[in-house]
């Protein structure tokens, strides 16, 4: 089987409110930046295009189709879409290339989350018979998960605050992030609870923006003369949509995906974890089997800026770019979808 490489990644600034810009206007700059960084003039330079977005965020059916206006799709291109985080658009593209149907692909994800009441918009991702009609919002569900974790002794409120502290501190080195700065654990714990046991800083900010990436076979990357990071393993696993049937304090699907992706087959220098809530980083870090030798979320992670439908792709792009820059040899990127870490994808990336 042919090996697949990530050759470029571009991310827009992560903003609380992108103002008058529409989705097409958000996508165009990152798509051309990712293509240009791969030495390509336009989208005709790749064999396949796949995007990730969610029509509920725009409140319009088939809204993702309008996103294609950003590409310049004449002559017609081969393209596809996942109603998920663009990390899964990467997965589809990866399979397409593995199967020999393409040698290269452009992947992009986008979201303007600011127009709606995001936690309630996300409640419509729940199963339509039992949970969605209850309007269980995403923050309350995460709070239920945090409570389960604290009560079972999996983690403490102090550890959650440490995650926030590290996120905001690391984010100071990332020009695209939304929330950054120096905070002490004591200072964070002194904040009032928001939806108990979560404090506001345990929750991700609402963010607008887009990201794009170019992947190709290793042979193609060499032909283009580009530095690259190799995807040495990629796997995703899903758990029941029924919260009551899961142990929310741990993540069995991350454990399985990590095992299949080969996380433990070598030292992991860096990890990017797509944990929108502070306690979820603790759950995922443990499920990935990472110890303190691995640097986690040097970008600041989703707590510093959470672009819906590309925060997962952002994790993969972040690890890939650090490997390409020579800052790490082997890294792991995690992406999640659905409430309370329901669906998880683990990608292992290595230097060439």
């Amino acid at each position: 089987m042919r090996d697949i490489a990530i050759v470029s990644f571009a991310q827009s600034p992560i903003l609380r409110d992108a103002g008058a810009q529409n989705e097409v206007e958000l996508i165009m700059p990152v798509v051309s930046a990712a293509l240009n960084a791969a030495g390509l003039e336009d989208v005709q330079g790749v064999d396949f295009t796949c995007s990730g977005s969610c029509d509920y965020l725009q409140g319009a059916s088939f809204a993702f189709v309008a996103g294609v206006d950003a590409l310049g799709a004449v002559p017609p291109i081969k393209e596809s879409h996942v109603e998920m985080d663009a990390a899964w658009a990467l997965y589809e593209s990866y399979l397409k290339i593995k199967a020999g149907q393409a040698d290269s692909a452009l992947i992009y994800g986008f979201a303007k989350s600011s127009p709606g009441d995001l936690p309630f918009v996300l409640s419509q991702q729940l199963d339509p018979y039992y949970y969605a009609p209850l309007w269980a919002d995403s923050v309350s569900l995460a709070a239920m998960q945090a409570r389960a974790g604290i009560d079972s002794g999996e983690f403490t409120a102090e550890q959650m605050a440490e995650v926030v502290q590290a996120s905001r501190s690391n984010a100071k080195n990332n020009e695209n992030t939304q929330l950054k700065g120096d905070y002490s654990v004591e200072q964070l714990l002194a904040e009032p609870e928001y939806i108990a046991p979560l404090r506001k800083h345990d929750c991700p900010p609402v963010s607008d923006g887009a990201s794009a990436m170019v992947i190709c076979t290793v042979e193609k990357a060499k032909e283009w003369g580009l530095p690259y990071a190799v995807i040495s393993g990629i796997e995703h696993r899903i758990e029941s949509h029924n919260f009551g049937a899961r142990d929310l304090a741990v993540s069995e699907s991350v454990v399985l995906a990590a095992e299949k992706a080969g996380v433990s087959q070598g030292p992991i220098d860096i990890a990017e974890i797509h944990a929108p809530f502070s306690h979820q980083e603790l759950i995922v870090k443990k499920a990935l089997g990472l110890d303190d030798t691995t640097k986690v979320n040097l970008s600041g992670g989703p707590l510093a800026g959470n672009l819906m439908m590309c925060a997962g792709l952002d994790r993969i792009g972040e690890v890939a770019m650090r490997i390409i820059k020579g800052e790490a040899k082997r890294g792991v990127a995690h992406a999640t979808s659905g409430p309370c870490l329901q669906h998880n994808m683990v990608t292992v990336l290595e230097a060439s």
């Binding site: 097409v24 206007e25 989208v43």
Partner: protein, 167 residues
Amino acid sequence: MSEEKEMITGMEAPMYLTYNFTAGGATTRFLAELRNGKLVGQECPKCQHVYIPPRGSCAACGVPTVREVELTNKATVQSFTIVYIPIPNNPIKPPYVIANLMADGAHQSFLHLISDVDNADVRIGMRVEAIWKAEEEWTHAMENIQYFRPLDEPDMPIDEIGRLKNA
């Protein structure tokens, strides 16, 4: 045993979500001109196609459409449908004609009504002009134009509709 219960085969779960809609930078410029009674398209700097209503990018080239082009009130019927089925709350009584119209100088059609003509006489290539509402009724909407009506001009050949003149 207790009496048999009827099987539940459906449930109602209405959902309403509220959004702050933004049209986007390019469409906002278009709507602002519409409020002034002007049809303004945007031109692709690469292929020179003019979009109306503009969505901010040339869908063919993937580049922003920055330059604005004011269009006349004249247009050509690219295709049309005679609607016989009433739409709830629509004040227009069927049968009526809804058409894809190509404004002169534009290369992307938009939908609007055709009136002041027998439905049976509407045809592809027919020349039409916009009839605007009274100025005090103008808002940021295509409904500022009440409808399009036939012009006393010869039909446009089908392969010339929406084509670049120098292409």
